[in-house]
Symmetry: C2
Subunit: 415 residues, 2 copies
């Protein structure tokens, strides 16, 4: 990724920071803050809030993280705000499945894992990275403080939030505490004296609450900057683990390569803008050329910052070999105990797929076969009731199973 | 007022308690609670909340207080909840003139004066009167408790409150903290484990929130009972000090008598129902007779419980004498310093009216005259620029000023 370039002229900084941004409220304010920072040598404080609920990050998360990295490279300070205190409260009504209350230990463990993954992208030096917990100030708020906080915002403005107004008009219940969460999130900006708050476009409203509250508390209002939500490999939904349309930040280099080669063509420009530092001219040039070459360059660019220690040629080689039906050399090997075999000396393929870790259960393995997702020796295998003999497992080189394009396992009978 | 009659049969208690009630949610619940109270000997806990903001009580306040007294006479316990903690918060936006934040000393002084006046109607024995402050539990609530409390109620239900829905649809701002106050008030019922909450009809919604919250906190829901807001002597607006259509609880007996003689005829039945214990038959009889006699009986009934030590005949006598243009014997006397006279030995009437305490300022005194509210020697005096001579003030008996029907002062030149 980029190297630090401190004290760049304001226009230069703005050019970098505005790239790929969806909302910027407001450019004038950001310019003023950058100008003052240059004059005083005082870096901007750039906040990103995170709920410590989902520990596995993917390329969608990389979009705001890369923007934060740009701020760091320009000499500014990133504040990762972990909502561990609010996570322990969760949704007290128990109705929201995305907000189950966590124990403080779970919240801390999630936060730990989250931050480790963020460090794949962010700089870690304390001059440019500060990690905070919202319990620091929320735990101290009493009834009077909360009434005072709530008094600063009107019901009408909170209900303007898109999802609230839709739910209210459709009669879907909104619990009173849900209205308090945006205020709390805004108060975090007051407590942190944030200069800029970054977020996905879905956070625009909440972050504007912070901007308004800072003004009410006598602070200079923060700049609100949003980045688009990355569309996943299915080409329609936003990237998410549950939709299985994602590329994980900690995936193997060849898997990242393979994933990026699958990006739907209409999304290429978007991926280039959000996930590489290539100039607009270079991107236009690539898009005008052959799509396979464009994908290849995208994959190499992303690998360069996401897995800087990996050999991109090796990753590509492995991807190519697999794509051509080849089998990579360094397959994970799995031993099969004799006790797995039945009286006739056979074991079901579904069981082997699960043993190999390609699917979590025999049932999922059978579904994989029905969906034509399993290959044996390069051939699609579709019989979910199929079995394999002791001899096949004991053969030299064992039995090689392949899931999709790039997941393999070599099964061998334990001697 | 009535004497205690403990352990009355439930039907008998219900008959007393339902008199003059506007809303009762629900009669079945009240019956069940009364039945259990009779069986266990455990009195019901009957809550009335009060903001310690207005220290002068009038007959409008007497309506709920008399209902509480009925509960006490039946052996139940009244809990006067003073919102002194919330009064110190007030309306943090500063927009509501009726809710200026008070210092804790002001709030306590107001509460003291409020409770003294309540004791004109309520019994004071600790078995039937408990005085509490909402700071006891609100001061201890933290962020997590408040989120948990708010989670128990939906926005739609809060916005159902009549004044909220009107303001929201007319675009009049509602501050977020205003939505929290009904929840807090409801939480008071949880903290107090109230069996019944009493209030004016304007409190129906807030008190129903308490009923719902108690259920959510695993308590038996309180019965909500409201009494009508008493219409004032103008016959249209609810009785209030600022509209000057009131009879103060601490007024002189003859002034109370005079006020009740002025109750508009269409309100008589209402006043009899809410402010006396006369039977419906007796009320019907009085209403069928001469209106003056009905007013007289109303006045004597109210004096009997509001000023039990006063001689009702004397109060009536004084009222009659004044009504006929007579002048009572025990006038307040006011000395006028010679220095008040000008070079010509005269002083303005406006100044004298203010000196006598009949109006707060010379300007108000002039307005009184313009409105034909001042009499001198039984004659209406209307010249706001009028003056009085040294001789008039020095005459035996001095100068008698009369405001309205029953306020007098005797002014005499200081020797």
């Amino acid at each position: 990724m980029t190297e630090p370039k401190k004290n760049l002229p304001v226009d230069e900084q703005l050019r970098v920071l505005k790239r790929g941004v969806a909302d910027l409220v407001s450019e004038e304010d950001l310019r003023a803050k950058l100008t003052r920072s240059l004059e005083t040598g005082q870096p901007l404080r750039v906040k990103l809030g995170a709920d410590p609920t989902r520990p596995d990050l993917h390329l969608g998360h990389a979009v705001p993280l890369r923007k934060l990295r740009q701020f760091q490279d320009l000499g500014h300070k990133v504040i990762m705000l972990i909502g561990d205190f609010t996570a322990t409260i969760g949704d007290p009504t128990g109705k929201s499945k995305t907000r189950p209350p966590l124990s403080i230990e779970e919240a801390r463990a999630n936060a730990q894992s989250y931050l480790e993954q963020c460090r794949l992208i962010l700089r870690s030096e304390s001059e440019v990275l500060e990690i905070r917990s919202n319990g620091e100030w929320l735990e101290r708020l009493g009834y009077k403080d909360i009434i005072g906080l709530a008094a600063k915002y009107t019901v009408a403005r909170i209900l303007e939030r898109d999802d609230f107004s839709k739910r209210l008009s459709s009669g879907t219940p909104i619990s009173m505490h849900e209205l308090l969460y945006p205020l709390t999130q805004g108060y975090d900006s007051v407590a942190l004296q944030a200069d800029v708050e970054l977020g996905g476009t879905d956070q625009l409203f909440n972050n504007l609450v912070g901007r308004a509250l800072q003004r009410d508390y006598g602070q200079e209002p923060q700049v609100v900057m949003t980045v688009p939500l990355l569309v996943g490999l299915d080409g329609t939904e936003k990237m998410s683990k549950s939709l299985d349309n994602y590329i994980g930040l900690s995936d193997e280099p060849h898997a990242i390569f393979a994933g990026l080669m699958k990006v739907p063509d209409p999304l290429l420009e978007n991926y280039f803008t959000l996930l590489t530092d290539l100039s607009q001219e270079r991107i236009a040039e690539l898009l005008a050329g052959h799509p396979v070459e464009a994908h290849r360059q995208l994959a190499r660019e992303v690998l360069a910052w996401l897995a800087p220690d990996a050999d991109p040629d090796a990753a590509e080689e492995r991807f190519r070999s697999v794509a051509k039906g080849g089998i990579p050399e360094d397959l994970p090997e799995v031993s099969v105990e004799s006790s797995e075999l039945n009286d006739e000396g056979r074991v079901s393929l579904a069981r082997l797929v699960a043993l190999a870790g390609l699917e979590p259960s025999n049932g999922a393995a059978r579904k994989l076969m029905q969906n034509r997702g399993l290959k044996i020796g390069g051939e699609v295998y579709t019989d979910p009731q199929g079995t394999v003999s002791r001899e096949q497992l004991a053969a030299p080189g064992g039995l090689i199973l392949q899931k999709g394009k790039d997941k393999f396992a070599r099964l061998m009978l334990k001697q």
